[in-house]
C-alpha cells in the first residue's frame, strides 16, 4: 500500500508552517504503511552554504568529533547539527562533494541520506508520528516537501529502504507501487556511473530521474520518460531544488488526490491527508490523470 504526501507552497507566509503541515498530512495516512516513514524538506537557500544529511545507527560514536575532523580534513569550516540518528552537515558549496567523500572515509558506517543546497531528509523505521517527533519535523520551515509512510514489498524494512530516496543534489522521490524492471534499469544506470545504496526498486526510479536531469532534461521531461522506461505500478511524487512533480503509471491503480489554492499545491494518496489544509473546502481538488505529468516550479 504505502502513503505519500507532497506540499508545494506558493504563499511565503505559510513557509514557517511547512514542517507542521506536512507532518500532519503524513500522520493522517499512518494506516497505509506502518513500517517506516520519511520526509524531505526544502528550506531557504543560503548563499555560501550547502548541506548533507547523514545518518548512523550509532550516532553517539559516529557523530562525536566529526565536525573538527571533517573541517581539518577539507580545510574549510564545517558545522554539524545532530538530530537523533541523523545530522545535517553544513559547509561551503564548493567543498560539498569533498566533504561527502571525506565523511565516508572518516566514518564508514555513516549513510548519506541526501545532499544539496536546500534539502534535508529524515527517515527511519517506525510510524510517521514517531519519525516526525524524533526529528522535530513540525518546527521545520521551507518552501516545499514530500513524505512517505511505507508498507514494504520490494526490499527489507530498514532505514535505507525507507523513502524518500535521493540520488542527486536536492533531488528526491517517494513512490507508491512496485516496479518490475528495476534490476535491468539499475544495471544500465550503474554502467552510466550511478551508485546505489540498496536493492530497492524506488531507488532505481530516483536514480533514473537524476540521470535524465543530468543529461539536461527538466523535471517534467524526466518524469515523462518514466512512462516509457519504467515498468510496473507507480505514483511518484518528486522534489527538486525549486520544483515539485507528480506522475502516475498508465494503469493508475495507486491512488492519488491533489488540491490547489492560491497558497499551495498539495498531494495525498487519499483525500484524508488534505482535510486540515487551510482553505481546503474551496480548493480545486482533482485526481491526477494516468500517464500525465504534473509539475510546478518556483
Amino acid at each position: 500500500m504505502c502513503g505519500i504526501v507532497g506540499l508545494f507552497l506558493k504563499d511565503k507566509a505559510l513557509e514557517p508552517q511547512l514542517g507542521a503541515m506536512l507532518s500532519q498530512m503524513l500522520i493522517s495516512l499512518s494506516d497505509r504503511g506502518p513500517d517506516s516513514a520519511g520526509i524531505a524538506i526544502y528550506g531557504a537557500p543560503s548563499k555560501n552554504e550547502a548541506k548533507i544529511t547523514i545518518q548512523s545507527a550509532k550516532p553517539d560514536r559516529d557523530f562525536r568529533g566529526l565536525e573538527a575532523e571533517l573541517a581539518k580534513a577539507i580545510g574549510t569550516p564545517v558545522t554539524i547539527a545532530v538530530k537523533s540518528t541523523h545530522a545535517v552537515v553544513r559547509t561551503t558549496p564548493a567543498k560539498i562533494d569533498e566533504a561527502r567523500e571525506t565523511i565516508q572515509a572518516l566514518r564508514p558506517d555513516i549513510r548519506i541520506m541526501g545532499a544539496g543546497d536546500v534539502v534535508e531528509i529524515y527517515k527511519e523505521v517506525g510510524l510517521p508520528e514517531a519519525v516526525v517527533d524524533r526529528f522535530d519535523v513540525r518546527k521545520m520551515t521551507g518552501t516545499h516537501g514530500i513524505g512517505h509512510t511505507r508498507m514494504a514489498t520490494e526490499s527489507a524494512v530498514t532505514t535505507m529502504g525507507a523513502h524518500p530516496f535521493s540520488t542527486g543534489a536536492d533531488q528526491c522521490l517517494v513512490h507508491n507501487g512496485s516496479l518490475s524492471n528495476h534490476n535491468n534499469v539499475r544495471r544500465e544506470l550503474i554502467r552510466e556511473g550511478m551508485k546505489f545504496e540498496t536493492e530497492n526498486d524506488t531507488e532505481v526510479a530516483a536514480a533514473y530521474l537524476s540521470s535524465q536531469m543530468a543529461h539536461g532534461k527538466n523535471l517534467g521531461e524526466a518524469l515523462e520518460g518514466t512512462l516509457s522506461d519504467l515498468d510496473g505500478f507507480f505514483t511518484f511524487v518528486v522534489g527538486t531544488k525549486n520544483g515539485f512533480g507528480v506522475v502516475r503509471d498508465p494503469i493508475a491503480c495507486k491512488p492519488a488526490v491533489m488540491a490547489e489554492t492560491d497558497q499551495y499545491v498539495a498531494f495525498g494518496s487519499e483525500y484524508r491527508a488534505l482535510t486540515k489544509l487551510p482553505g481546503i473546502d474551496n480548493a480545486r481538488v482533482w485526481e491526477p490523470e494516468p500517464a500525465t505529468v504534473y509539475f510546478w516550479e518556483h
Binding site: 493508475a252 491512488p255 487519499e270 483525500y271 484524508r272 481538488v285 482533482w286 485526481e287 494516468p290
Partner: protein, 241 residues
C-alpha cells in the same frame, strides 16, 4: 441544511452523527442496529473528512446525507438505503450495492459501483478509471466523464455516461448495456457499438428520469455492448484474451 436546524427535538428531524465527535464504528453500528420499520428514517453525517467505509452495509430504507467528502468504499453493500454524499467519494463507492441508491454530488474515484448487483449509483461529477468494473445488475449514471477500463467484464445492468469515456471501455464485457453521450477514447476487447432500438431509448429515458437528469435526450447517446465472440474459447480469438 443550515446547522441551526440540526436538532433531535422532533421525530422527523435527522439523527446527526458528527464524525469529529463520534467514531465511524459508532455510526455504522447504529445504522446496522436499525430494526425494520424504525422511525429513524433520516440520518446526517457531519465531518466525514475522507473517512473510509462510511455507511457500509446499511440494510434498511433510510435516507443518509453525508456532508463532505468520503474515502474508500462509502455505501458498500448498500441494501435499500438512499445515501447522498455532498462532496466527492474515494475509491470503490457503492461497491457491491444490492439495492437502494447512492448519489455523489462531486466526483468519484476509481472503481465506482464495482460488482454492484442492484440499485442506482448517480455521480454528478466525473468518475475515474474502472467505473462499473464487473457490474452485475447495478445502474450507474455519470453526469460527467468516466476513466479508462470502465465496465471491464461488466455482466449486467446499465452504465449511462453523459460525458466522455476513456480507453478500453467495456473490455471483455458480457451483457451490460453501456450508453455514452460523448466520445469514447477506445473500446475494449469484444465491446462494440450497437443499434439504439426503441426499447433502448425507453430504457435510457427511464434511467435518466430516475437519476434526475433533465434536458438530455436518449437519442443523443450511443449504445455499446458485447459482440459475444469471447464467451466460448475459440483458438482464433486467442489474442483477444
Amino acid at each position: 441544511m443550515p446547522a441551526t436546524t440540526l436538532s433531535k427535538t422532533a421525530a422527523h428531524d435527522p439523527r446527526v452523527f458528527d464524525l469529529d465527535q463520534l467514531s465511524l464504528r459508532e455510526l455504522n453500528q447504529a445504522l446496522h442496529n436499525l430494526a425494520p420499520g424504525s422511525n429513524e428514517t433520516a440520518w446526517e453525517v457531519l465531518n466525514p473528512k475522507g473517512s473510509h467505509s462510511v455507511a457500509v452495509g446499511v440494510d434498511q430504507p433510510v435516507a443518509i446525507d453525508v456532508r463532505g467528502s468520503v474515502g474508500y468504499y462509502c455505501g458498500g453493500m448498500n441494501s435499500g438505503s438512499t445515501i447522498t454524499v455532498h462532496g466527492s467519494a474515494g475509491p470503490g463507492v457503492g461497491e457491491n450495492m444490492m439495492s437502494g441508491s447512492i448519489t455523489i454530488k462531486g466526483d468519484a474515484s476509481q472503481y465506482a459501483g464495482a460488482t454492484g448487483k442492484g440499485g442506482l449509483l448517480v455521480i454528478e461529477g466525473n468518475a475515474s478509471s474502472r467505473c462499473g468494473i464487473s457490474m452485475k445488475g447495478i445502474d450507474i449514471v455519470v453526469h460527467g466523464n468516466i476513466g479508462h477500463m470502465s465496465a471491464f467484464m461488466a455482466q449486467s445492468g446499465n452504465l449511462v455516461v453523459l460525458g466522455d469515456a476513456g480507453d478500453a471501455l467495456g473490455d471483455s464485457i458480457y451483457e451490460a448495456r453501456l450508453f455514452v453521450r460523448g466520445k469514447v477514447d477506445s473500446l475494449g476487447a469484444d465491446c462494440i457499438a450497437k443499434e439504439m432500438r426503441p426499447e433502448h431509448l425507453e430504457l435510457l429515458q427511464g434511467l435518466l428520469d430516475r437519476a434526475g437528469v433533465t434536458g438530455v435526450k436518449p437519442a443523443e447517446f450511443k449504445r455499446y455492448g458485447s459482440a459475444r465472440t469471447l464467451y466460448n474459447f475459440n483458438i482464433d480469438n486467442a489474442d483477444a484474451y
